[in-house]
Structure formats: structure tokens, C-alpha cells
Amino acid sequence: MIGLFKRAPAVEAACELGRSAVALPLRADCAPPRGAPVVVVDASGHARRAVAPGGKAIPLRDGELAWVFHPGPYQVDLVPFPAAPEIGLRTAVAVDVSDPDVVRHRFDLYLAAEAAGRLDAAQLGAAIEAALRRELEQGGLALPPCATVEEWHAFRRGLNELVYMRFGLVVDDCVPVDLGDRVDHAALLAARAAAGEAPSAPVAIPQAAVAAAPADVALPDARALRRLFLELPGLMCGVRLAALPSDPVQFRRQQALLQRLDLLSVGAATMPALGLAAPQGALEDGEQRRRAHHSGRAAGALDEAWALLARLKGAAQDDLAALYDELDRIVANLEHDCAARRRTGPAGDAGDGETA
């Protein structure tokens, strides 16, 4: 009898929600705080939203994962340029909970595809910063020196769109700030000189220098494949909805790109296991590292695709040609990396004659 009246235990660290934690994973027998929004992701990756009834656990079926989150807002300081560490953007973001009728929330997809357990505000800030830096480097957003007011507004529009498309977050506020109180560029440079000019984080590591054990690459590889599997259908949906080309040439391009994305999506769903060359045939360590490298790059191409989608949305018909060209590049990169992830041996183009 007592069991009937027993309350489910509360989620661990629930009081950090809305402060340092954005989302916390729910175990099947845990009760989320009353009224808190909950995201339930089923085994095939479809997400649905629920509202915590309070004191009771959310019923979960087999293979389902659940998160409880707090919509925020969260304040993060983004550093848009690695070369300018003393300049930041103080940004407040909030999870989009405005429209309960929207079937697919991007934030739910983000949790399902990328969150491994708890999602911290700092982690989310770092992800937003990485997306912003990538877009600034590639020219999708521009924040030039001595930016005029119009340029700042254009940047803000692009940033809002990017953060909404990529993370499902709404940018409430964003102002440039001087981080000189916390960050001292001179001290950073002096520390680098003391460390013997060791390379800092933003530079990529050459493929040949990567010598991780296969166990270390298995997890990033699995995460990258999960992202491909879950995000490619959403991406296709986004490309279809973002713009309707009126020019028949562009329409045919859009259809061709959608077809290629569809094939990629099928390919991602049938990707072979990292450690297997054939059924019961193990793959050597070096090849496993190569495969994991390519799955990571494919996930990077996904980031670019979401950023491009943010630009595609609301683009003028005249700009569509250039944007589809960019999408063509991203899809080609995805195809290239997915094919390399699938391969068991060195590239098949050896017959081309590297030295001939």
C-alpha cells in the first residue's frame, strides 16, 4: 500500500536548472519539477514535448530518453574572433517554447542528436561560439572593424537566424562588451612564449599526427553518426521549406540537391560499424581512425549546412543561385566524407597515379 503513495525521487541537481544547467537527463523513475517542459526522444529519434505533472515520473517506453529543461534565458559571453580575445558579445539566449503547436522543435533535435547527458549553459555557449566563429570565417556573417549601425543590425539578424536554425534558441539580447577585465591578451601571449609557442586550440591537428586508440575514436564516431542519422531528414525538410525558387533552373537544382541529401540520409542509416571491415572481419586501428576522422568531418559539414539554411531562409530570389552553389559544395563534402567513412581500405583513386 505504501508504494502507492511513494513520491518519485526528484531529478538530481534540479535546482541548477535555469542557472548553470540548461537540460538534465531524466531517468525513468525520476520526477521532474512541476510544470517544467520535458523532451522525450524515442528510439528512432523522434522527439515530443510534455509538461511535468509534478511529483510523478514521466512514463518512458523502452529505448526512450528524456530531458527536462529550463527555457532560460541564459547569458553567455561569446568571443567572435580567436585573434581578439578581449572583445566579446554578451548574449542572452532562451529556448523557444513560444509555439506549442510546432511539431518539430529544433532544440529537441539538438538535445536528441548532440546532448550526451547533461547540457550545461557553458557547453551550449561554447557550441554557439563555435558556430558563430565558423560562420564569420566563411563569410556568412560579417562583423567588420568599425561596423556601422546598419552592419550591426544585419549581423544581429543573421545571428538570430543562425542560433535559431542551429540550436532552436532565441537571441534575446546581444551587445558588444570589453572583456579586458577578465582576459589579458598580453598575458596570453606571454604564457604562449613561456610554453615554447605550443600551438593553441584553434589550429587543426594533422591527420597523420593523430594517434588515438580505437577506443577513443569510437565514441566521437558514434556521436557523429547519430547526428547524421537524426539531422539529415530535418535538414532536407528545412531546405524544402526555406525557399521556393521561382526560376525553373534553380528549382531543378533544389530538387537535385534534395535527392542527393535523401541518398545521404539512407547512406547514414546503413553505415557500417566502425570496427568491422566485413561481417566478422575486424578492421585495423589505422583504418578505424581514418573512418572516425571522416565521420567527424561529415558532422562539421552538417554544421555548415544548418548555418546555410539560416541564410537560405528569407533569401531573395536573386541570391538563391549563390546559396544553392554553397549547398552543392556542402552536399559534395558530405558525400565525400560519408563515402570515405564507408570504405574499408585506402582511397580507391590510387589508380589515378599520385605521381604519374
Binding site: 585573434a83 566563411q138 567588420p144
Partner: protein, 340 residues
């Protein structure tokens, strides 16, 4: 495959000087990938040399933000360098960048480049082996081009010395108009200096110019509030002889970028302007609007940032702003420096 709009030419050549005095020509060609390797290298005689070339090109590409798997680049040498010679590496990297439009030098022909590196994946160029280099050669190493990012003026993200460049137009009345760069290198100071102007060195310029540069930088750092007493600075100019004050805005912005206190443009920063009140961050007008605008319009490349004095705004030539934007660059007429 759909048709792609790529405006860069299919072939690029860069020359390099060998130790025996001969000139080696590096040719890079771009073509549809069609399932082939991303880089193919050819060198007469030596398959190991071709392998080394391919590694250099692939490592140097790791520093680029944009990855395009649709093209194959074929790089070839027209003669074999000596087996232990490595000074051709910079020329191979630059040819590969030119043919893909990553780097667009103003006259695309006639570039001579010498340099080698063990850290191409960081974009660093460690040195060159020429004893008597020709004056217009692009040389790797600390005295020339220490980092590939400096081709567009950006500091090396991993180096202990922050070096940034900005360009300003030199107007000499016609055909000899050209862009000149100003380079600011800042080293952190262990102990705060009392005299800011004493920490600024301007090698290769006369006393009046040295004094002017010191006064400008001290004033602009005073405006910045966090610039004083932290840095030892070296300023270099692309030309030894020039007159006028229109380099001041480029100098101030290169200094701000080197100190990590300014937004960084995607391409180069081209600026013209001077001021009598840098301590207030004000930008005053300079002479020569028509020829300088014509020069800047010719020089503008994708990602470049053009900064002009606010007083020029009503007098800008018709079609200037549109032309700059069509080239992929952006332009602003500014009254004051500082972010936003």
C-alpha cells in the same frame, strides 16, 4: 553535376629560385574532381618529391576554414630541385591557394616565393634559404612572411608575438598608385613602461616619421584605455619612402587588431585617414578622394574591409559603393574608431 559559378582562373603559376640560381616554375591546375584524389603532384624524376609536395599542400590546407571536395588540384614543377632542397614549398602552397581563389594577389603573375616550414599545418613559414633575394620576392620566415594568415593581415593564432597588417593607398599621380602595407608587431612587456613612445620602434624610417608614428600610436592607445604600458611594439612599412599622413588610420587599426582589441575582417583591411585627435578616436579627412577610390575599387577583393573618413561620404564617386560590394568587399565611412 550542376554548373558552378567559379570566377577564379583554372591555372596559376608561381616561381621560386633554386640554390643554383635557376628559376623553377610551379604550375597549379584546377579541374573537376570526378572521384579522383584531392591533390595530385608531379615532379620530374622523383616520386618521393611528389609525395612531399602532396603532404605540404594537404597540411597547408588544414589552416583554411573552407573545405571544397569538388575540385582536384594538380601541382607540377618544371624541373627537379636538388634532393635536400626545400625552398620550393612556399611556392607550391601559394600556387595551390591561388588556383582555388583562396589568395588573390593583385597582379596574379610574376610572383616569386621562397620559403620552407616544418609546421605547414599551423600555417607558419619558418624560413628561406636565399642569400641574395630579389627585392620583390615573397620570402618566408620572421623577416618576411612568418605566417600564411599575414597575406591578408591576420595575426597567427598560436604565436607569442601578435603581428597584424593593414593596407593604405599611396597616390603618386597616376600609374604608380599602389597599396602599401603597414605592419604592427606587439610583444608583451614584463614590466609596465612609463614612457609609451619609448616602447615603439619604427625601423627603416626617418626621424620625423618615427616621431609621428609614436605619437599616433600613443594617442590611439590612450583612447583605447587598455593599450598603455603593456606592449613593446615594432612598426614596419612596405615602402621606405612615402609622404603624407594618410597611413595613420591603417596604422591605428593594425595596432588594434594586433592587440586583440578590434573585430577582424575576413580579408584585408584597406584604410585611409588621419587625425589630429587620436586620443579622442576621431578620424579626419585626407586628400585625393578620386584617385584613391579608383585604386581601392581596383584592389577590393572578397572579404576585404575598406575604411574611409566620414567627410568623404557625400563625395564618393558614383557606383563606388556598389562596385566594392559587387567585389565581395564592404566599405564604411567612419567618424570615430572603436567597435560599433
Amino acid at each position: 553535376m550542376t554548373q558552378r559559378a567559379n570566377t577564379t582562373p583554372d591555372t596559376a603559376t608561381v616561381r621560386t629560385l633554386l640554390a643554383d640560381g635557376a628559376t623553377l616554375t610551379v604550375t597549379a591546375t584546377r579541374r573537376e574532381r570526378a572521384g579522383r584524389a584531392d591533390v595530385k603532384c608531379a615532379a620530374p624524376g622523383d616520386p618521393r618529391l611528389a609525395e612531399r609536395m602532396r603532404d605540404v599542400v594537404r597540411l597547408a590546407r588544414l589552416t583554411e576554414p573552407r573545405f571544397d571536395s569538388r575540385d582536384q588540384v594538380v601541382v607540377s614543377l618544371d624541373r627537379a630541385p636538388a634532393p635536400d632542397e626545400r625552398d620550393w614549398e612556399l611556392a607550391v602552397v601559394l600556387a595551390d591557394r591561388m588556383v582555388r581563389g583562396v589568395w588573390r594577389p593583385a597582379p596574379p603573375g610574376g610572383i616569386v616565393a621562397n620559403g620552407w616550414s616544418d609546421a605547414w599545418h599551423l600555417g607558419r613559414v619558418q624560413g628561406h634559404a636565399l642569400r641574395q633575394p630579389p627585392p620583390d620576392a615573397l620570402l618566408g620566415g620572421p623577416d618576411g612572411l612568418p605566417h600564411l594568415g599575414l597575406l591578408s593581415g591576420h595575426p597567427d593564432p598560436g604565436a607569442a608575438v601578435s603581428v597584424a597588417r593593414a593596407w593604405f593607398p599611396l597616390h603618386s599621380g597616376g600609374a604608380a598608385d599602389s597599396l602599401c602595407w603597414v605592419e604592427v608587431a606587439v610583444h608583451p612587456l614584463a614590466h609596465a613602461a612609463d614612457d609609451e613612445e619609448g616602447t615603439i620602434a619604427v625601423p627603416g624610417q626617418d626621424a620625423a616619421r618615427q616621431h609621428a608614428v609614436r605619437a599616433v600610436l600613443a594617442g590611439a592607445r590612450h583612447f583605447d584605455a587598455r593599450g598603455l604600458g603593456r606592449w613593446r611594439t615594432t612598426v614596419r612599412f612596405g615602402e621606405a619612402q612615402f609622404s603624407g599622413r594618410s597611413y595613420e588610420l591603417a596604422l591605428v587599426l593594425a595596432d588594434r587588431i594586433a592587440r586583440g582589441r578590434e573585430f577582424v575582417p575576413r580579408g584585408r583591411l584597406l584604410a585611409t585617414g588621419c587625425s589630429d585627435a587620436w586620443h579622442a578616436g576621431r578620424v579626419d579627412t585626407v586628400e585625393g578622394i578620386a584617385p584613391k577610390c579608383a585604386l581601392l575599387l581596383r584592389a577590393a577583393q572578397p572579404g576585404d574591409r575598406l575604411l574611409l573618413p566620414r567627410a568623404w561620404q557625400p563625395d564618393l564617386p558614383a557606383g563606388f559603393v556598389g562596385g566594392v560590394q559587387a567585389a565581395g568587399a564592404s566599405v564604411a565611412c567612419v567618424e570615430r574608431i572603436g567597435i560599433i
